[in-house]
């Protein structure tokens, strides 16, 4: 019996073809031996709005797609295009979807094809991953306007020392979306913890007639936490080692 090839198969006119229909009935898949450039290509060509956590050995990074482009990437120490280049240099690991939403404006402006070209070029020129990328200290990262918005740059600069022992930090917008995440561990968990703590503090304050909630500090055996609500309703939350000097930050945010 002859084997039918695809071209000889009758066309199935009942198969729904619109993208939206495909997405609604899409598969959950586990693929092996897929490279990160493959993933970028697949997500960009499909116009994906997804975000992914990439884990490679001890490294963790995030890739976020929107409107057919890779619009944001971050690692423990890098963000934007530098982070994308670092992640794309990783050779093996695991990729999982995550709930992070890409920030607006995007931190990556280059077209995704250009990014892949550069990553391939860098891989050719420099087979050792991560060499040649300018690393940014976490403290500097926290100090940027995206995480800790400040109208007074000189005060922001002064808080750099205070933040040098930061273990992890997240910033949530008013809808609870994670717009910035830094540091170690599962940042989604920390974001959820922070959002829940804000809510609990608010309802406790309402129950006792304490007025509007402003900030929360907590002490754990090996770290201290500080969480506060900014004037625009965003929530910034961080955990730092006990050696961190947080008074400068407290003063800066008016505590």
């Amino acid at each position: 019996m002859p084997i039918k090839t695809l071209s000889s198969m009758p066309e199935n006119t009942n198969v729904p073809t619109p993208d939206s229909a495909i997405r609604q009935v899409g598969f959950a898949a586990q693929l092996q031996r897929v490279t990160l450039p493959d993933l970028v290509q697949m997500e960009c060509l499909s116009g994906s709005e997804a975000s992914f956590r990439v884990v490679s050995d001890a490294n963790t990074g995030y890739l976020m797609f929107s409107g057919g482009q890779l619009v944001h990437a971050m690692t423990r120490t890098l963000r934007g295009e530098a982070a994308a280049q670092e992640i794309l240099s990783w050779q093996q690991g695991k990729v999982d979807p995550c709930k992070f939403r890409a920030p607006n404006p995007p931190t990556i402006l280059s077209h995704w094809q250009e990014l892949l070209m550069r990553a391939a070029q860098q891989s050719d020129e420099n087979p050792t991953p991560n060499v040649g990328l300018e690393k940014v200290n976490v403290a500097q990262e926290l100090n940027d306007s995206e995480f800790l918005s400040s109208d007074e740059p000189e005060k922001a600069a002064g808080s750099g020392r205070a933040l040098s022992k930061v273990i992890r930090a997240v910033r949530l917008d008013t809808q609870g979306n994670v717009v910035v995440a830094r540091g170690e561990g599962n940042q989604e968990d920390f974001a959820e913890l922070s959002a829940y703590a804000v809510r609990m503090a608010q309802v406790v304050g309402e129950g006792l007639g304490m007025g509007g909630f402003r900030a929360l500090e907590w002490t754990l055996p090996n770290r201290n936490g500080l969480l506060y609500v900014e004037s625009n309703g965003s929530v910034a939350s961080l955990e730092a080692s006990p050696q961190a000097e947080l008074n400068t930050l407290r003063r800066r945010i008016g505590l």
């Binding site: 406790v204 304050g205 006792l208 007639g209 304490m210 929360l216 002490t219 754990l220 770290r223």
Partner: protein
């Protein structure tokens, strides 16, 4: 129990303290030294929420200290896993004084073994509203004297 209540009253020696109460790990309010404006019903709602807040923050070991800042007030929670002292204070309270006072009160409460008490006694969360404190210290709420 009366010793524990006396310990709580001792916190009022620090200026700016509105009142305090002790809450179990489950959120039961075991003792209170608060103005009558804070009803038992309000505390019955607040207690479990404070317990949940403590539990949520205890992701890397037990949280020992929480300071919540509100527009006009502070809420300070100091405790062991089994129970915590919750202090309602004015915004400008002298924190070092409060911390020292809390250290002393915590020791007193631990001697009373309240953790065991909270687990054994039925209805222990239904402690009636406190009598007026024996120390005639004025109490303030949102800037107004309430006792």
């Amino acid at each position: 129990m009366s010793n524990a209540l006396e310990s709580l009253k001792g916190l009022r020696d620090v200026d700016g303290i509105i009142g305090s109460f002790v809450v179990s790990a489950l959120g039961l309010v075991l003792f209170r030294d608060l103005p009558a404006i804070f009803t038992q019903a309000a505390l019955a709602e607040v207690g479990p929420r404070i317990a949940r807040l403590r539990e949520a923050l205890s992701h890397e070991g037990d949280v020992s200290n929480i300071v919540v800042r509100y527009e006009d007030h502070k809420l300070v929670v100091r405790g062991q896993p089994e129970l915590a002292i919750v202090v309602l204070a004015e915004q400008g309270i002298h924190m070092p004084q409060l911390k020292m006072a809390l250290n002393l009160v915590s020791k007193s409460l631990l001697k009373a073994d309240l953790g065991a008490l909270a687990g054994v006694l039925p209805g222990v969360g239904e402690v009636p509203d406190r009598a007026e404190p024996t120390v005639a210290a004025p109490a303030y709420y949102r800037g107004h004297r309430v006792s």
